[in-house]
């Protein structure tokens, strides 16, 4: 199913077709166009086109103040609060914890002081930064994008080079509009075949992570390509690039194509009129050249993928829903056996138990991975005319306020509410629980988010990652469920 091979480092063979120039990858083209200078130790100073900020940015602004510095190019920064915002109110005053409220307020005040565009809770554009930026047309092909959040890899779906950074680096970008980076290696993931009904982008990326491992792409910029990728929607591509960080990838990318252009056209911050035509002409040249060499290549037939769920505490612990909890006795090494035992204990599982026997307490649809309109549509298709199982608390938290409005215009809120789901305001919510939306200790949650780490959704929480349609199926049946069973009885 999956082939992994080292690509020949000698580029001369493949470059013969193109006279005078070495074929370049999408990544290399963007890297080169943003390189200001390269230090003797190999680190390159890169120019940042767009810097996205969320309500965890207070420490970075504080670092700037300590040095008496101000944001140097404020019009290249965009801010929206997501991690600390309430999802049952649109009022910052509703945040009971004064320190958390201060985080959300700091973003508003720091943005205002610096002249940075800010989409606050009273702004119809607010939402999770990784949902908002593509939606507003702020993430564009060829851009170099950073944000103080690891899921910045999301924006690569539009043909950008986008990656997460830490607080000191956020301050560095604010102060200089640049960032030092060592050039990562390149990995191409080629997707072939036709995915089966009930299988989504989430299942594809969980399969990739399970195969290459949670550090399988560390130090690499990953480009997703191949016929199966080309047929995926922009929202599906965003989901795949988003979770690239769960395989350790520095960035996830997709070459811009007709799907990208159709998605971007007319969005508020996208070029308009003649500028649009010029931009598209430029963007067409970004795709990796034929024969461009990647350091590694991985191939996957998406036709063999089934709906996936995670059982353990790393996103690499993903299996088809038809599988059973693995038996640590079969682990390939003592370390792996230890890790499996620890996860099985924490998650409250029995080796050999059918995954479909796992009863859930909570269901969560949302996050920067799966909080977009297509995600809500796919979940609503399962929930329509059905009821959430007794004893299950099920939530839908749209990824942005525009997603919420669009879903309401399509009547999806009614579908969810009639089924017994809570329909809430946009934000990160139970993905991380920093706003107080948490899963209680010992509770099992079917979740469309990206991390199943110990305590991720609250101390003692037990997270199973899956697609939004699979979460809806679990909410309806009260246990992990193969969504295909619910799609076929329609």
């Amino acid at each position: 199913m999956l082939l992994q091979r080292m690509v020949m480092p000698n580029r001369m063979n493949s470059s013969r077709e193109i006279a005078n120039s070495v074929p370049q990858t999408l990544f290399e083209k963007i890297w080169q166009r943003h390189a200001i200078l390269t230090r003797a130790d190999g680190q390159t100073l890169l120019y940042v086109d767009s810097h996205f900020l969320q309500d965890g940015s207070a420490p970075a602004f504080e670092l700037l103040r300590q040095r008496g510095l101000k944001p140097r190019v404020p019009h290249r920064a965009f801010a929206t609060p997501d991690h600390y915002v309430p999802t049952n109110s649109r009022d910052l005053a509703a945040i009971a914890d004064p320190e958390k409220r201060a985080m959300a307020e700091a973003l508003r005040d720091d943005s205002a002081a610096a002249g940075i565009a800010f989409f606050g809770l009273d702004d119809a554009r607010q939402g999770i930064v990784h949902v908002v930026a593509p939606e507003q047309g702020l993430s564009q092909p060829g851009m170099l994008i950073v944000c103080g959040d690891s899921h910045t890899s999301t924006h690569g779906a539009l043909g950008a080079l986008a990656f997460g950074i830490g607080a000191t680096e956020v301050a560095h970008v604010l102060a200089t509009q640049t960032l030092w980076q060592r050039k990562p290696k390149t990995l191409r993931v080629l997707l072939a075949g036709m995915h089966r009904s009930g299988v989504s982008a989430k299942d594809i990326i969980l399969t990739i992570i399970a195969r290459i491992g949670a550090s399988g792409a560390t130090g690499h910029a990953v480009e997703y390509a191949g016929p199966a990728l080309a047929s995926l929607s922009m929202e599906a591509r965003l989901t795949i690039c988003n979770m690239t960080i769960e395989a350790g990838g520095r960035a996830g990318m997709v070459a811009p194509d007709a799907t990208t252009f159709a998605y971007l056209k007319g969005r508020p911050f996208a070029p308009q009129g003649a500028a649009w035509d010029r931009a598209v002409a430029r963007w067409r040249d970004l795709a990796s050249d034929p024969g461009a060499a990647f350091d590694r290549e991985v191939m996957l037939d998406v036709g063999e993928i089934a709906p996936m769920v995670t059982w353990g505490n790393s996103p690499e612990d993903a299996l088809a829903i038809t599988a059973r909890v693995p038996d640590p006795a079969t682990a390939p090494s003592a370390e792996r056996r230890e890790a499996m035992l620890r996860a099985i204990r924490y998650m409250g599982l029995e080796p050999g138990q059918a995954l479909t026997d796992l009863k859930i307490d909570r269901a969560f649809i949302g996050s920067c991975t799966n909080g977009r309109i297509e995600d809500l549509e796919s979940a609503a298709a399962v929930a329509r005319g059905r009821k959430v199982a007794p004893g299950v608390e099920a939530w839908v938290v749209p990824g942005s306020t525009p997603v919420k409005r669009e879903a309401e215009a399509r009547g999806l809120d009614t579908v969810f509410k009639e089924a017994g789901f809570q329909w809430r305001e946009a934000g990160c919510s139970m993905c991380l629980g920093t706003n107080g939306d948490v899963v209680a200790a010992g509770q099992r949650c079917a979740s469309s988010t990206n991390r199943n780490f110990v305590g991720r959704q609250g101390v003692g929480s037990r997270t199973h990652l899956m697609s939004p349609a699979m979460v809806a199926a679990a909410a309806i049946s009260g246990r992990l469920t193969d969504v295909r069973d619910l799609l076929t009885d329609r």
């Binding site: 680190q43 550090s215 350790g248």
Partner: protein
């Protein structure tokens, strides 16, 4: 930034692969002001039980490991969230170096900004170090940044491992230098780039 030259200190083995930054610093402390001692929050949910009492099973609660200033981790240490607070928690507790067969890219970058040395060594060497420190809690590791070597002087294995590090990162750590100060000396070059930039 605190300079790093050499260090001989007790090593704390974290014998878990994929030890993510949520484990190093749980998300519910992310809004805490930097002025606080983040060492208090280090490994919080592993160190303490739900009722607030110490978890005696966690390595750091065994007296021999408490003075640790070096962490030895397994594959993919520091993966996950980009929170620099994870590095602050290690730093504030007194940890100056992390040794592992591989670490998250963003974690390594954050570490470099805070004077925390990250050392990547072959998995077999790290496994031996973890086993040695588990067998003899309180065992010390010696790190020499100038020479780029790691050794376990007290273990009797006599082995010394050489590690790689970017020359600039090394210079910054040795001198306690700050990258932003250096970049600010390059502003002319940045401005020249901007003038010719059409993107």
């Amino acid at each position: 930034m605190e300079p790093f030259t050499s260090l001989r200190a007790v090593a704390l083995p974290i014998a878990q692969p994929n030890f993510d930054t949520d484990q190093i610093l749980p998300a519910r402390f992310l809004q805490k002001p930097r002025a606080l001692d983040f060492g208090e929050f280090l490994f919080r949910d592993l160190r303490y039980r739900a009722d607030g009492s110490e978890n005696p099973d966690f390595v750091l609660n065994q007296p021999a490991y408490k003075p640790a200033r070096i962490v030895i981790g397994e594959a993919n240490f520091g993966c996950g969230s980009s929170r620099e607070h994870a590095v602050w928690a290690l730093h504030d507790y007194g940890i100056r170096a992390v040794i592992a067969p591989g670490m998250g890219d963003i974690f390594m970058s954050n570490a470099a900004k805070n004077g925390l040395l990250t050392i990547v060594l072959p998995a077999a060497a790290v496994t031996r170090m973890i086993e040695a420190t588990l067998a003899a809690p309180g065992l010390e590791i010696a790190v020499d940044l100038e020479a780029q070597t790691v050794a376990m002087p007290g273990s009797g294995d006599g082995l010394q491992h050489r590690f790689e590090i970017d020359s600039y990162r090394k210079k910054c750590l040795l001198g306690g230098l700050d990258e932003l100060d250096y970049t600010l000396t390059q502003l002319e070059g940045i401005e020249a780039f901007e003038r010719g930039y059409t993107g």
